[in-house]
């Protein structure tokens, strides 16, 4: 059960369904992403997110630290592929981060680190958006497939990817 206090705070932030429209969706964005290409593709959407409050959850690698200079960042556990221990650790990080930051939107492009945040967000009534990486055209990513059932806005970059996720929206390549 979600505590009453949490519901009140999420409601105030406009993140829960019945208060929809109280706060624009892009107001406070929680970005959850592996470092490397996943992160780069989310970062490329800067024209959209630069006006929003944001918090990034990623891995502490050189490219992430360089790309996210000046941004608010929390570092998660990696690797996530076939690593249940890190999945559990990342899951334990997700709840307090969602509670503290109170995002209006949780967004990811993968990989495994996204899963706990998407299921927790669904549970808490927080809107989610997933951007499938541009280079996966013939098969969906494991994370994409796992997040698809609970993602409000599933986005793909190329029209060829739409047959992998029939209910997705094509937004165009971010590069």
């Amino acid at each position: 059960m979600v505590e009453v206090e949490t519901i009140q705070r999420f409601t105030a932030a406009g993140a829960i369904g019945r208060q929809e429209g109280a706060t624009p969706v892009s107001d406070r964005i929680l970005f959850v992403s592996s470092s490397g290409g996943h992160l780069a593709q989310l970062h490329a959407l800067k024209d959209w997110w630069s006006h929003s409050d944001r918090l990034w959850v990623t891995f502490r690698t050189q490219d992430a630290e360089s790309l996210l200079q000046g941004e608010a960042v929390e570092y998660g556990y990696h690797p996530t592929t076939r690593n249940l221990r890190n999945l559990a650790r990342n899951w334990r990080m997700a709840r307090p981060i969602l509670r503290r930051f109170r995002p209006t939107l949780v967004m990811s492009s993968g990989a495994g680190i996204a899963v706990p945040y998407f299921y927790e967000a669904r549970r808490l009534g927080v809107r989610t958006a997933y951007l499938e990486v541009v280079d996966r055209i013939d098969t969906p990513t494991v994370t994409g497939r796992m997040c698809y059932p609970v993602t409000d806005h599933f986005l793909v970059q190329l029209p060829e990817q739409q047959r992998l996720y029939p209910e997705a929206t094509v937004v165009g390549a971010v590069m």
């Binding site: 290409g37 951007l131 055209i137 190329l158 165009g172």
Partner: protein, 188 residues
């Protein structure tokens, strides 16, 4: 030319680039990021090589190049476009031991279709493109920045105002995702 950081060799690309450079009546300044591809010095081509370079260095090399030739990975493509170069991409192939599967081939063709790169799958195609760049009949200088990012950003902003997922949709999509659970290996 950059082959990226994948552990497979990509001798085919190196030999195509050397091959074209050797044919030219003028000097061509070449920089090659060779990764895990063993590259010896060519007797007839003066090329600067490095197995791995820092990202900033790679961007500098791209920016000062007339032509950027890459493997079919999104990272290199994004980097080249960010410094104003339309990349020429030769995708790695599984059957030649250049990668674990053919996803680069599929990806590169789709990106070419979206106008983001020039895709070359034969030595002749690559040679033609490079010759055309020298002749000025193909322009690979593009505006700096990540190309379609502004359009994509606008599309994202519009998409997220759509209605949220209903419970029924969750179930329908879960069934869909589970049905695809066997597709975890790419088949060309």
């Amino acid at each position: 030319m950059s082959v990226g950081t994948d552990h497979h060799e990509f001798n085919r690309l190196v030999s195509w680039v050397y091959g074209w450079v050797q044919e030219q009546p003028f000097d061509v300044s070449v920089f090659m990021q060779t990764g895990f591809t063993p590259v010896g010095p060519s007797p007839r081509v003066q090329a600067r090589t490095a197995d791995f370079v820092a990202h900033d260095e790679l961007l500098k090399e791209f920016a000062r190049s007339d032509a950027v030739v890459l493997q079919g990975g999104p990272g290199g493509i994004m980097a080249a476009r960010s410094v104003g170069r339309l990349p020429i991409v030769v995708p790695r192939r599984r059957d030649l031991g250049e990668h674990v599967d053919d996803h680069q081939v599929v990806f590169a063709r789709a990106m070419a279709g979206a106008g983001r790169i020039i895709c070359c799958e034969t030595g002749a195609e690559l040679a033609t493109v490079l010759t055309d760049i020298v002749a000025g009949t193909v322009d690979v200088v593009i505006p700096e920045g990540t190309g379609g990012a502004t359009d994509a950003a606008r599309a994202v902003e519009e998409s997220i105002t759509a209605p949220r997922l209903t419970g029924k949709s969750v179930l329908r999509r879960a069934r869909f995702s589970l049905r695809r659970a066997g597709d975890h290996r790419f088949r060309a």
